[in-house]
């Protein structure tokens, strides 16, 4: 066992500790937002989903190494993102296409 290997591992431990702390803080912030009397429901949902997106980028970016990945992986993800947006877009489009029924 070389010292270099151990120090690299220890560095990774510290980094992961910081990421976990950040994810935990954002999660608690998200839960706090759910209880907060913000008034507008849309604002509350928007803030909660924004916090979820921050958590997702921390996990994807650091833990899945997406901030420093190869081009081939990015290419796969770009296509995935395009199809995902199209999928969600189709849902929204279909929703707009419903006849308005008076309740």
């Amino acid at each position: 066992m070389s010292d270099v290997d151990t120090s690299a591992f220890q560095q990774q431990v510290r980094r992961c500790g910081v990421i976990f702390a950040a994810v935990a803080c954002v999660t608690l912030l998200m839960v706090g937002t759910a209880y907060a009397p913000l008034g507008a429901e849309a604002l509350r949902i928007g803030l909660i989903l924004a916090a979820a997106a921050v958590n997702a980028s921390l996990v994807g970016g650091y833990l899945m190494h997406l901030f420093s990945e190869r081009r081939a992986i990015y290419a796969v993800l770009v296509f995935t993102a395009i199809f995902f947006v199209a999928l969600m877009g189709l849902s929204v489009w279909a929703q707009q296409d419903h006849p308005v029924v008076a309740r």
Binding site: A24, V59, A72, L87, V92
Partner: protein, 256 residues
């Protein structure tokens, strides 16, 4: 015959084959969960105002599960880092912790499922509605721990409402309809069980792979540690995806 590029990166992609394969698989998984999330959005937006359930799930338990899964994502990354640093004992410890955290996650989820599947709404012949957890059911009587409500819509928003633990005894012949909080109860619970059930299957799948890599599969370490390290990495990528899905499931189902 040797399978090429299990350790060395392919010259054209710059990564070893299993990693590209895992990312392609995860791309298909994004579309699978994307379809279900899009169904959720459509059904929620189309729901008449005031009918979409709120506060039906335990936020403390959901938060705990989020933190457990996030911690397991960290331990699985550190298990891979331990392999890279040639610290096999550390790998065994960290991968064991990951397995344990995954099992705890499933245990909490199982408790939540049990809580829902023992919760009933009984519509009585006199028009009253009883809602609560089933205590006992015999041929002549049903006992629920809960409350009476005037309208079914009174059950929709439970945010900030104290749980009622009043014991309600109902004669069987007074029950017009009784339904438990299963997938058939309403659209919200159908989506809840579908989304979390599929996610739970992914957790189980990940745990099976981790258990293999922790147990019999770890023999590869002695003969080809680099290849074993890559196996741990791709299994870890899958686990991170499972964590990512939960990161969105938690706010969507529990908080909004």
């Amino acid at each position: 015959m040797d399978i090429p590029y299990t350790v060395q990166p392919r010259p054209d992609t710059g990564v070893y084959n299993a990693k590209v394969g895992m990312w392609l698989f995860l791309a298909s998984e994004v579309m699978l969960f994307g379809g279900l999330f899009s169904a959720y959005i459509m059904l929620r937006v189309a729901a008449p105002e005031g009918t979409w359930p709120h506060g039906w799930l335990s936020i403390p338990l959901g938060t705990l599960n989020t933190l457990i899964l996030a911690l397991s994502a960290v331990t699985v990354l550190l298990a891979w880092a331990a392999c890279k640093a040639r610290l096999f004992d550390r790998y065994k410890f960290l991968q064991g912790i990951t397995l344990l955290l995954g099992v705890i996650f499933l245990g909490i989820k199982g408790y939540e499922y049990h809580d829902k599947l023992t919760h009933y709404t009984a519509v009585l012949k006199d028009g009253r509605i009883a809602d609560g957890h089933l205590v006992s059911a015999t041929g002549s009587e049903v006992v629920l721990k809960g409350e009476f409500v005037a309208e079914r819509s009174d059950l929709a928003d439970r945010r900030g409402r104290a749980k009622s633990h009043e014991e309600i005894r109902i004669a069987r012949d007074q029950v017009q309809k009784m339904q438990r909080y299963g997938p058939a109860y309403n659209t919200y619970l159908a989506l809840y069980f579908t989304l979390t059930g599929l996610h739970g299957l992914h957790v189980i799948g990940g745990l099976v792979v981790f258990a293999f890599l922790w147990g019999p599969g770890s023999r590869l370490w002695r003969t080809d540690p680099d290849r074993f390290t890559n196996r741990v990495e791709v299994a870890g990528l899958f686990w991170h995806f499972v964590d990512l899905v939960w990161i969105f499931l938690f706010p969507v189902l529990y908080l909004t």
